[in-house]
Every structure is written in structure tokens, then in C-alpha cells.
Symmetry: C2
Subunit: 420 residues, 2 copies
């Protein structure tokens, strides 16, 4: 392969999405930002949008904005995200956090399958998802066994194992579509089909998928899904999450959290809860307006770019990075922590090294590279197709190489600072 910077630049010149980079606020051109899979960059339009919501809608228009556009914001923006994840209108809402939404939908699913005693998930899943399941099960008096399928070689799932775990005693299958450490991408259609054959319900966590890989919830026949909006959707730190409930389940499924925004007539102030028809019954309290509207610019940008082009660039970026890792970093003790098969990977690349923690520190402190580190040895490099350039990829790998050649990581302690 050609590992020159000039080649990276030639790839950028041929990039159909290159123009989108200018749509983002970039204050430091030398910074190599490799963490868009954790916190997406700030869209320039979002700055104006936030100011307009704060000053005009809140400051000037005050309570009247509820009638003007706030009351419908959760489902209106939800439908925009829905269009992006293959969901027909009326099945997606913006609401709460990913964790809270997962709680709502996992409980709804478990209550819909009262006679079954197994939850299937895997060790690749984001720990918060596992914690939610453990908490749900506790509320149900430990009715279920949570089968955590081992994570195969740590890079790719052993799909046969996962499929075999789903049986006629399974109430719920819930997995991360793209897993947070290795970036492995599940075949959601196959899993969903197997679950339905066994009478189980399926809940997908799309946090690392949405905005980066194609998601077609209706086509899969998915029952439930949740996802994060502050990664590839660029919604801002801690922006509210989204949830999907297949229309076929909206009549019988019920949120465990009964709140006024999920009531059929919130402003009638009746004393007894009557769940709203449709997706609104999965809302709980007053929606987070400022952050729901702030995320809209990011969603619009992605929709305009289109998932086909985003996915094509994502595969090109991750493939290029893998080639560079092989060419420049393997000799320094790095191994790839991400599937080589493009069809089975999302939009980040994990590279593994026994000194990963210290290397990450050196990159941040000295090299103006922002990756992140995931225990025990993963440097995670997120490539956001809307604004990551091929030259960014080249720079990231080159600066890692410099850290290794110059031994810069050795200045940092091997012990992790406790996160308190």
C-alpha cells in the first residue's frame, strides 16, 4: 500500500462527502479527532439553532412555544431519526437517555413474555445495557437467567453461539448492533429472524450504528430499539436518546414509567393514567426541549448526506486505517482489534497494544490526537464519515508511530487513575 501523506490527500480530493467537513466547528486544525464515536463534533448550524431556541423560543416566546413546536418536538425529531434507521413514521421518539429508554423497552418486552425465563445478550454489549437488564430482572424477582454469550475471540461474535442461545424459553434478545469495543457489526436480520422463530422479542441498541452503518428496523422486523444521539448523530454531550417500538407492538406494550407525556391527554390532568396511542406512550416526563432541538441540525446533515454515501466512506476510512496499521504499526506490537471484513464492522477501528493505556495518554498530552482507551488494551479510533478525512486517518497512525519510535508513552504511569 501507499502509506504517504500525499496518497491520503489524494483520497480526500476524491471524497464525495469532503465538503461536509466545513459544516462543523473546527477550532484547531492540527487536532486529530478520533472520538466522534463517543462525542460527535459540533455542527456549525447547531450554534445558531441553539441560540435561536434559547433567545427566541424560550426567552421571547416563552410558554407559547409549547403550542408552537415544543409539544411535538419529541416525535417530530424522532421521525427524522426514524427515516434514517428504516422506521416508518410514528415509531421513533426522542426521549430520556439510552439507559432509561433501554429500561423502558426491556421491561415492556419482559412483561409481554411472562412465561419465559431467559434473556440473551453478549459480553460485547455495552455494560450499561447489561446493568439495565440486571436491574429489570431484579424488579421481576429474578424471574430470568441472563445468558451473556461470550465474546468469541474478543473481536467478532461467534454467531452460531449467539443463535444457539436463543430458544423457546427466551423472552428477550438484546444486543448492540455495532459493539462498542471491537466495532463488530451484527447481522441484525439473522438474529431477529431466529428470535422470532423462537417467539422471543428483540431489542437493538443502535448507539454505535446510527449515522454510520445502514439500519433498517422495519425491514428486519425488529421489535424494539434504542440509540444514542451524541455519537455519529452529533447531538451534543448527553443529548437525549431515541427509542423505537414497532407499530405492531404499540397496542400491547407498555412503558413501566407512567408519566404525563405518555398519557393520552396530558393537559386534561385526569387522576388515572391512560396510555397514549402510538409511540407517545413511551414518553415519560416533560421532554428535554433545548437538547432535542439542538440535535436537529446534526440529524439533518446526515440525512442530506444519505446513509449509502456515509457507509461507503466509512468503509473506505476504516479500510484505509487498517491498511496503515498493518503497514506502520504492526511492527511496533499493535494488533488489530476490529474485524477485517468490512461487512462485519462499524465505523471505528480498535488497535490493541499491551501499553495501550500509556500510548493513549501520550497521544492526548503530546500529540494532539484524541482517541479513547477501553480496557484492557484497546485504543479506539472513531472515524465519522461526515467530517473525518483520510488525512486525519494518516495523521493518527503517523503520530502513533512517532509515539512508539520515540518511546514517548514511557513517560506515563501504567496505573489508571481511579475514576471517581
Amino acid at each position: 500500500m501507499d502509506s504517504s501523506r500525499a496518497y491520503a490527500r489524494s483520497l480526500d480530493r476524491q471524497d464525495a462527502l469532503a465538503g461536509y467537513r466545513e459544516q462543523f466547528f473546527i477550532s484547531n486544525d492540527d487536532m486529530v479527532y478520533m472520538d466522534g464515536n463517543s462525542l460527535g463534533r459540533l455542527p456549525r448550524d447547531t450554534m445558531q439553532r441553539v441560540q435561536q431556541v434559547v433567545e427566541q423560543q424560550w426567552g421571547a416566546n416563552l410558554i407559547r412555544s409549547w403550542g408552537d413546536n415544543w409539544f411535538e418536538a419529541a416525535t417530530r425529531v424522532g421521525d427524522k431519526i426514524g427515516a434514517f434507521v428504516g422506521a416508518a413514521p410514528g415509531q421513533v421518539a426522542v426521549s430520556d437517555s439510552t439507559t432509561v429508554n433501554l429500561f423502558k423497552l426491556a421491561m415492556a418486552a419482559l412483561i409481554l413474555r411472562p412465561g419465559r425465563s431467559k434473556i440473551v445478550t453478549d459480553a460485547f454489549n455495552f455494560p450499561s445495557d447489561l446493568y439495565v437488564l440486571q436491574g429489570c430482572n431484579r424488579l421481576l424477582n429474578d424471574r430470568c437467567r441472563i445468558q451473556v454469550v461470550p465474546s468469541g475471540d474478543g473481536i467478532s461474535a461467534d454467531l452460531d453461539n449467539t443463535l444457539a442461545a436463543i430458544d423457546e424459553d427466551t423472552a428477550l434478545v438484546t444486543l448492540s448492533h455495532v459493539v462498542f469495543k471491537s466495532g463488530y457489526l451484527y447481522d441484525a436480520a439473522v438474529i431477529t429472524r431466529r428470535a422470532h422463530e423462537q417467539g422471543a422479542l428483540v431489542l437493538w441498541d443502535l448507539s454505535h450504528s446510527v449515522g454510520a452503518v445502514p439500519v433498517v428496523l422495519d425491514e428486519w422486523g425488529a421489535d424494539f430499539a434504542v440509540g444514542c444521539t451524541y455519537k455519529y448523530l452529533n447531538g451534543g454531550p448527553g443529548a437525549p436518546a431515541f427509542l423505537y417500538v414497532n407499530r405492531a407492538l404499540q397496542g400491547e406494550a407498555l412503558s413501566p414509567i407512567w408519566g404525563w407525556f405518555g398519557d393520552t391527554a396530558p393537559f386534561a390532568f385526569d387522576l388515572d393514567y391512560r396510555p397514549a396511542d402510538g409511540i407517545r406512550r413511551f414518553l415519560a416526563g416533560t421532554p428535554p426541549i433545548l437538547s432535542t432541538l439542538a440535535m436537529e441540525s446534526g440529524v439533518d446533515l446526515l440525512a442530506e448526506a444519505g446513509i449509502a454515501r456515509l457507509r461507503a466512506k466509512s468503509i473506505a476510512l476504516t479500510g484505509y486505517m487498517i491498511d496503515l496499521v498493518d503497514a506502520l504499526l504492526a511492527a511496533h506490537g499493535f494488533s488489530l482489534g476490529t474485524p477485517r471484513d468490512a461487512a462485519r464492522r462499524g465505523s471505528h477501528v480498535s488497535v490493541r497494544h499491551p501499553e495501550g493505556y500509556r500510548i493513549n495518554r501520550a497521544l492526548i498530552e503530546e500529540m494532539n490526537v484524541l482517541p479513547d482507551f477501553r480496557e484492557p488494551d484497546n485504543l479506539r479510533l472513531g472515524l465519522a464519515p461526515l467530517y473525518t478525512s483520510f488525512e486525519d486517518v494518516w495523521q493518527a497512525v503517523e503520530r502513533i508511530r512517532v509515539v512508539m519510535v520515540e518511546g514517548r508513552y514511557r513517560r506515563y504511569p501504567t496505573t489508571r487513575a481511579a475514576v471517581t
Copy 2:
């Protein structure tokens, strides 16, 4: 009484908090804003604060801001609110919505009292709170009876009735400290004492109290509390809520929603949930950073003004309004829907009229007054001591009088538009 505008102006000249009005964004000087109990005004500092968080912390500093100040934001801002509600540090966190927080704490309480089968609340409580209790009880297989104490004369609680409902079978007592329609203010110390004598736990909803009336959670010995930040705290539309858990209960009480931000080591990514020590275990997913930091300016302003001065002005404002209602509106068929005893009322005044719905419409459409309407006949007039002037109060009553004298409300339909 002196019902002249000049007198209102003289009261403003003597108002120790008059200077705070300038700290808020006011785009339309003729508007009489009477809905600060529903959505507080925008503090001017919040505009700069939001811009700084968006552009500097998110846009420029990106993921590094988690380490700089985001990770601690929920508890740091929580402690600021805590100081304002009589809670020693480490007992309050900003998190989720009021509804979700109420769900977490009500479930925690019910699980701590497994042998008891009664929840005591009242018909004054905000309906979403009742819905949450109904949902919790459903999850517990309808273990409890929810005793909804009737709302007395519709204005003030029959305290003896409420106290009598609390018995040795009561697991949880939960009430709105200031009730949303009439503005009745409960004696929280008396209720809490009675509950504890009977071995029950108490959960206060402070949504209509915080920022307007004195709250001393530790002194009351309250077990749990939740509250809204977008009313008198001026946190912005749908801003995240806060929760309080008395330190004495933080070891045994557990949130039903187990998420990574409530785990003892979120970034260790262990597969099994281990609840954090302290208030952090009641967090769930990634905190809503933008809106948590946006609320800080509003909280700081209130803290600077101090609850003693805020309460004194609130009583003066509501007392003045009641006098004007008696003098100018009683003759037009209005009755007072709020306690006359200042010690028993919060910071809004309800006035009742059979044509309340149409009068509210006329005020909004023609008179540039923004109150709100609550079924069946309440015009709710919120008086926020930090920015509502005595002249605002005079203007509101005078414009209502004009609507009545000129019969303007008759132009509007009597049927409510369905809220969809």
C-alpha cells in the same frame, strides 16, 4: 386597599429584589408574564453560558471536557440546588426528568418497605406523580393500595385527613409540597414526622416550591425528594430535574434503573453492576450536559438573592394580588382558588371563574398577558419573586378586568381544543 397603578409602582420602588429583573431577558416590555411557575424566564447569563458550553466545551474541547468538568456536573450543580433546599452536600443530583426521578425514588421506597401495602398521596398531587405511582404499583403486582386523599375544599388540604391516612401499613407518603392548582403549601415537617412515627417513608415533590418557598429537607428529616428546574429555578424548557436521597438511606436504597453513571466505576466497563456509593447511584445514563450546565446561571441568581428575601417578596406579591382580586375582580364573578393564609400558600395565585377557559384565551390573544389555565376553571397566575414586579401584578388584574368589562372572552369558543 389602594388599587392604583401608582401604588404598584411605589411597591416596586421599595422592592429589595427589584434589581434582579434586569438579569433576565425581557423582549417585550408590555407583556405581563404570569407563567414563571410553569416555565421560568431566561436569565441573561444563561445565553452566554450556553454559548460557552456549546462552542468552547463541546466544539473546541470536545471529549476532554468530560474530565474537565462534565463528569461531576450532575452532583456539582446538584449540591448548589441542595444548598437551596436545605440539603447538606452529597444528597442531591441533577438527572433525568421529574417523572423518571419520582419513579426511581418511589420504587426504591416501596422496595425498602416490602411488608406494607399502602401508598398515601392526595388529589392535589400533580397527575404525572399519580401515574408514576400507579405504574410502580403495577410493577409490584398491585401489592399496594394507593390512597388518594380527597382535596378538601379544592383549595386547602384537610390536613387531619391526610395525617389520618398515614398508618402502620403505609409504605410511602408522597405529596407535592406546593400543589399545582391551588398553590396550597403543605406543612412538610408535620407530615414527615407523622410518616416516620408510623414507619413510612416520605417523598416530596418540590417542583412548585424550589426557588419560591423555604425548603429544609434535612431539617424535616425527609427521606426522598424530587423537583423541577424549569419553573422558579429558570433552567429552561424541559431542563433535567433533581433528586434528593437522605444520606441515611443512601446505603440501602437502590434505583430500579441500573445504569453506568450509577455504577461504582463507569469506565471500568465491568459486566456486573455495582451501585456507586452515595447519591451517584441514583444516576442512570449519560447526564444531559448542555441543559445541566445551562441551568446553573438561574440557580446562582436565586442563591444570591437568598430564599428569605425571595419568600418575603413572594408573600408580598401574592398578598397584593389577592387584595386586587378582591377589590377589582370579585364583582365580575371571580373567586379565589388559593389559600388566604400566606403561611399556607406558594408563589402562584389561582383565580376561578366559570368562563376561565375563554378568559385565558382572551388574555393571551388580545391582552398580551400569559397566565395558564387548569381545568375546570382555574386561571393560574405565577409570581416569580426574582423578576415579577408589583406593576406586573397590577397589570394582570387590570387586564383581566378589562376583558370582563368589555366581554372580550365571549369571542372564544367554550370547547377546549383537544391536545393531541
